[in-house]
């Protein structure tokens, strides 16, 4: 059995009701899961003897702007044993949009989640160090959201006070 089918079969068996979509495009396998199951799925993917997804390569989000579930959080995880990259997605909504952190499972996700928080304002619950990554603390906007203008908002990033 191909490894792809094995993943789909195992995940479907384990998370029968929470799987929203399984899709393959240009050879990339992506699995969409209910947002409250993300940590459970992450732990399962890492700890299963056959799957062994030990590394989180990337965490990011997509802002769909007009859709009901406005944001999709996207994870790319890699299995050294099987040489396979899997994409996990979770749709979230609300203001602020919230999802549980996976940095307890994959410590490498720590900075990527901070980056996603910084750029999209997605709050990762129970994250050990959820601070802004690139923008200064206290910056009110989230630059990669679709409603943030390309040229920026005048006055949103004031210069520091002049020393007397």
């Amino acid at each position: 059995m191909a490894f792809k089918d094995l993943i789909i079969e195992k995940i479907k068996k384990q998370f029968e009701k929470s799987i929203e979509e399984v899709k393959e495009f240009r050879g990339d396998l992506s699995i969409t899961i209910a947002k409250d199951k993300i940590v459970e799925l992450a732990r399962f993917l890492r700890d299963d003897d056959e799957l062994c997804f030990e590394t989180c390569l990337d965490v990011t989000a997509i802002d769909w702007a007009t859709r009901k579930n406005r944001f999709t959080v996207v994870y790319h995880v890699y299995s050294f044993k099987n040489n396979f990259t899997l994409r996990i997605k979770a749709n979230i909504d609300g203001e602020p949009p919230q999802i549980e952190t996976v940095s307890s499972i994959w410590p490498g996700a720590n900075w990527y989640e901070r980056e996603t928080y910084d750029m999209y304002g997605i709050v990762f619950l129970n994250h050990p160090d959820l601070r802004r990554m690139y923008m200064p603390e206290g910056f009110e906007y989230y630059p990669l959201r679709k409603d943030f203008p390309l040229l920026g908002i005048p006055g949103s990033l004031p210069l520091p006070d002049k020393l007397e």
């Binding site: 240009r26 390569l57 997509i62 996207v74 050294f80 601070r131 690139y134 923008m135 200064p136 603390e137």
Partner: protein, 416 residues
């Protein structure tokens, strides 16, 4: 006015540093102290700021802080056509421009489902490997300079300069090359260029030996790196470290072998690894990778096939400039591509390539228009810097300099 203060205070950061013990700043010599290294420190490779908590000269904890460039490359990508974005990939890892160009166009080609002709792919492989050598030369040279061996930086930049001359002839630019095109490369590599590459390779081996002689018989250099900044294999995997830093910790993972792209599966090369995972291992690792690249380049030159360098896919690939001036069809296609973009199908792809710094990935979401709906750059330097708090713990403050150099971050990439 209130708001202004708020923006620039680092209250949260300070709170985090002080959380387990109060520090009396007045009596610094008797106590633990918090100091800043960077963002203008000469050894922090650009604009990296480290907040260090010290007991005497021993580092108790480190918090790396990014965010000084604010170039917003991912935002810009959403407002540009796929072709327009190629020059911006140069500016990511500016020591290895060609590698970025190649990785980006391969990601777009994966999204489109097209393939460049074989000769174009071989040329891409050639420039990517040359670029890798150039980037490792910068890495080794500046690394040696960080720990005091200034001669080395002259020697490595001399080698890099020869590669820039090849790029100058091939791409018309030495530094910001923007050489690849979707579906191929900008210009064909003529015989003179290929000869230049071969000449460069012929003398490069002995240059590498000379560099090794200079550094590895230097007791100061060895003592400053041996056993310093050890990154264990398990931690490296957990933190998502890639590239030479991961292989120096003993994991035999190279994207060129694991998920072969271009024609790397036709080339015979080894993946060197080290077991120690310390600063010296990371120096050896880069040196050995350069030697492998030389081996790969000789094979590429021997196997270089003939033929076209641009794919014949009129809806997605820009036609040759000469044809635009003489043929109506090509003129129309050029007009459509420039004005409306290449319009890939709806969907999302993740493509990653082996860069000198590690695994560079592009995640592209397309909604069917000429602009990407989202383009995320998985940059290796950003992720590799996450190792700093782990490897710096318990080191001396002067070791921090050596450790940063050994991880070889490029802030252009970490601070997108």
């Amino acid at each position: 006015m209130e708001n202004k203060k708020n923006v620039y205070s680092d209250e949260k950061l300070l709170k985090k540093l002080l959380e387990d013990k109060n520090i009396t700043i007045e009596d610094a010599l008797e106590n633990e102290m918090v100091i800043n290294m960077g963002p203008q420190h000469p050894a922090t490779h650009g604009v990296l700021r480290l907040v260090l908590r010290l007991d005497g000269e021993t580092v108790l904890s480190v918090i790396p802080e990014l965010g000084y460039l604010h170039r917003g490359y991912e935002k810009m990508a959403e407002n540009m056509s796929y072709i327009e974005y190629i020059p911006h990939t140069d500016r990511l890892d500016y020591t290895a421009t060609m590698c970025n160009n190649v990785a980006y166009v391969l990601a777009v080609e994966k999204l489109l489902g097209i393939e460049a002709p074989k000769r174009a792919q071989y040329i891409r492989m050639m420039v990517a490997e040359l670029s890798r050598i150039a980037a490792h030369m910068v890495a080794i040279g500046t690394y040696a300079m960080d720990v005091g061996a200034v001669t080395m930086v002259m020697w490595t930049f001399r080698e890099r300069e020869k590669i820039q001359n090849i790029f100058d002839r091939l791409a018309g630019a030495r530094f910001t090359t923007s050489y690849t095109r979707i579906g191929g490369v900008a210009n064909d590599a003529d015989d003179v260029t290929l000869k230049m590459v071969r000449d460069f390779l012929d003398q490069h081996q002995s240059a590498l030996d000379e560099m090794d002689k200079l550094l590895l018989r230097n007791k100061i250099f060895i003592n400053r790196l041996d056993g310093i900044g050890i990154l264990p294999k398990e931690d490296a995997i957990k933190l998502g470290i890639t590239g030479p830093n991961l292989r120096a910790s003993g994991v035999e993972y190279d994207v060129r072998r694991a998920k072969p792209y271009l024609f790397y599966d036709e080339i015979d090369f080894n993946i060197p690894t080290q077991s120690e995972g310390d600063c010296l291992a990371r120096y050896y690792q880069r040196g050995e990778e350069v030697r492998e690249s030389v081996k790969i380049l000789y094979q590429i030159l021997d196997k270089m096939p003939g033929g076209e360098v641009l794919a014949n896919v009129p809806k997605h690939v820009l036609p040759h400039k000469t044809e635009i001036y003489t043929k109506m069809e090509e003129l129309i296609h050029d007009f459509m591509l420039i004005n409306y973009g290449i319009n890939p199908p709806e969907g999302d792809v993740f493509f990653s390539a082996e860069n000198p710094k590690g695994e560079l990935g592009f995640y592209i979401v397309s909604n069917g228009t000429g602009y990407p709906w989202k383009l995320k750059i998985r940059s290796p330097s950003f992720c590799n810097l996450q190792a700093l708090p782990v490897v710096c713990k318990g080191a001396m403050i002067s070791d921090v300099i050596a450790i940063i150099g050994s991880l070889d971050p490029v802030m252009g990439e970490a601070d997108k």
